[in-house]
Symmetry: C2
Subunit: 138 residues, 2 copies
């Protein structure tokens, strides 16, 4: 079933390729797709797969190491750090909360009532839980 980690980057997406990469790795760890101790794709390999520059991947690997999420073994590769799971869950909760908070603020500024907001949410949440995967990853 292909690679354990499937990462795709949209160069014209809302956020920068680096951020998309970092976020996807954190999410993969938080969801258990990537377990501590596991090895990540090499900088050059992922660069080919995700159609980004090796420098970009390397930069993200280094950034995530600073966060304590990844662990680099010189000459070998990068691996998921042991304490990564809790860190990534925390980061995930923080990021998702903040994004939802911003969305709610915008929705209210745009004139939607609490009821309209709730209704919209329930409609989309329900649609998603039924359809399962609809594509469109960020």
């Amino acid at each position: 079933m292909g690679p354990k980690l499937s990462i795709s980057v949209d160069p014209k997406g809302d956020s920068t390729p680096s951020e998309q990469l970092a976020s996807q790795v954190r999410f993969a760890i938080a969801s258990g797709v990537l377990a501590p101790g596991e090895r990540l794709p090499s900088v050059r390999q992922l660069a080919v797969d995700a159609l980004v520059n090796p420098n970009t991947v390397g930069k993200v690997w280094r950034e995530l190491e600073r966060e304590g999420v990844l662990e680099t073994r010189p000459g070998d590769g990068v691996f998921v750090a042991s304490g990564a799971l809790s860190r990534c869950r925390a980061a995930r909760d923080l990021e998702l909360s903040e994004r939802l908070r911003v969305w709610l603020a915008d929705a209210r500024r745009a004139g939607l009532s609490s009821d309209q907001v709730t209704e919209l949410f329930e409609r989309l949440a329900r649609a998603r839980s039924v359809t399962q995967r609809t594509g469109g990853q960020r």
Copy 2:
């Protein structure tokens, strides 16, 4: 009570100043803060208030005119077009739906269950409807 339209731009925000500007104007119209026929701040005035370049404001004014949201009267100023309300409501619903859709997709990719998603939403929605205005506009 100050200017009718209060617009603030965060140069380091998630989206570009142009997009923030355009979105805020559309939202203001959709919510009724800005009514059809009303006049918008001048390019130079808003540039000062929102701390952006006059060129940036002018670019947005022109873009919104192409959308049929604004109407420019040469030598006079720009005004909210007559059909702007419905257009902006449609644009608002589309934008908010799409953003929420992306958020839901990311939340699921990050390993949150439907219940966790719902719980998170209800917690934040409730907090906001109580606190009223918490600032942080995008």
